[in-house]
């Protein structure tokens, strides 16, 4: 997938674990793991909004596009 999810970096910068984020935004750990590992096929705007609000970031900080090699 050419879209890279940089959730790990953002969490690291905020000194937060995936479990913390899951509890704060009410999205299951399983679903956040899917997102973090790049296995998600799509992302709801509501999820994007919740993560950006909690981590105080822009969608562009979370998602990046990398050309397929």
């Amino acid at each position: 997938m050419a879209i890279v999810v940089k959730l790990d970096e953002l969490l690291h910068a905020k000194r937060m674990t995936l479990t913390d984020l899951s509890e704060r935004i009410g999205i299951t750990l399983a679903n956040l793991s899917i997102l973090k590992t790049g296995k998600a096929k799509a992302m709801r705007f509501s999820t994007l909004e919740a993560i950006c609000a909690e981590l105080d970031c822009q969608p562009g900080d979370l998602l990046a596009h990398e050309a397929d090699s």
């Binding site: 999205i27 899917i34 296995k39 998600a40 096929k41 799509a42 992302m43």
Partner: protein, 174 residues
């Protein structure tokens, strides 16, 4: 699943088993009748002459064989329809929108097509037997409800295919 739906599914499951049992009994009857035609034909002719059921019993053997063969094929197709329906009902309890169910519905559609195509020669054979005796009911032929059922099965197959694709899309959505 709401309670009334699960009750309906329970009734459907029971009815499907009941119909399957009846069809199995019918298959057994056809096989026994076929065996009797093959083995005990002289006795059958004597009995038929005595009872006066057939005006010309001796000439009826090929038609009777054809009738039983067609009935057997129709019953076999019906068993396939019922088995597919059972699988559909079983999957409805968990997640019905899977690609397999689209395939099952399409298979039901084709089995119903086979039943209706077989019902045409069955009608002719039954007609030819009926001409020789008064004690024989009409069978087979075309019926509109059956054709509607075929269309319904194919339309539902297309709907399920789309549903399965949408489910697949939703599955990876976070």
């Amino acid at each position: 699943m709401p309670a009334d739906h699960s009750a309906l599914m329970g009734i459907t499951r029971a009815l499907l088993w009941l119909i399957l049992g009846l069809v199995a009994a019918a298959i057994l009857f056809v096989l026994v009748a076929g065996g009797a035609l093959a083995v005990a034909w002289p006795d059958i002719v004597v009995e038929a002459k005595k009872s006066g059921v057939f005006l010309d019993a001796a000439a009826m053997r090929p038609q009777l064989f054809a009738l039983l063969a067609l009935l057997l094929a129709i019953l076999a197709a019906t068993v396939d329809v019922l088995r597919q329906l059972q699988a559909l009902v079983a999957s409805a309890a968990a997640d019905p929108f899977i690609p397999e169910n689209a395939g099952r519905l399409r298979r039901i559609g084709w089995a119903l097509v086979a039943v209706h195509l077989l019902a045409l020669p069955l009608g002719w054979v039954a007609g030819s037997i009926a001409k020789a005796t008064s004690k024989f009911a009409a069978m087979g032929g075309i019926n509109l409800t059956g054709i509607l059922a075929i269309l319904l099965a194919f339309v539902l197959a297309a709907v399920f295919e789309r549903g399965a694709a949408m489910r697949d899309e939703l599955e990876g959505t976070v």
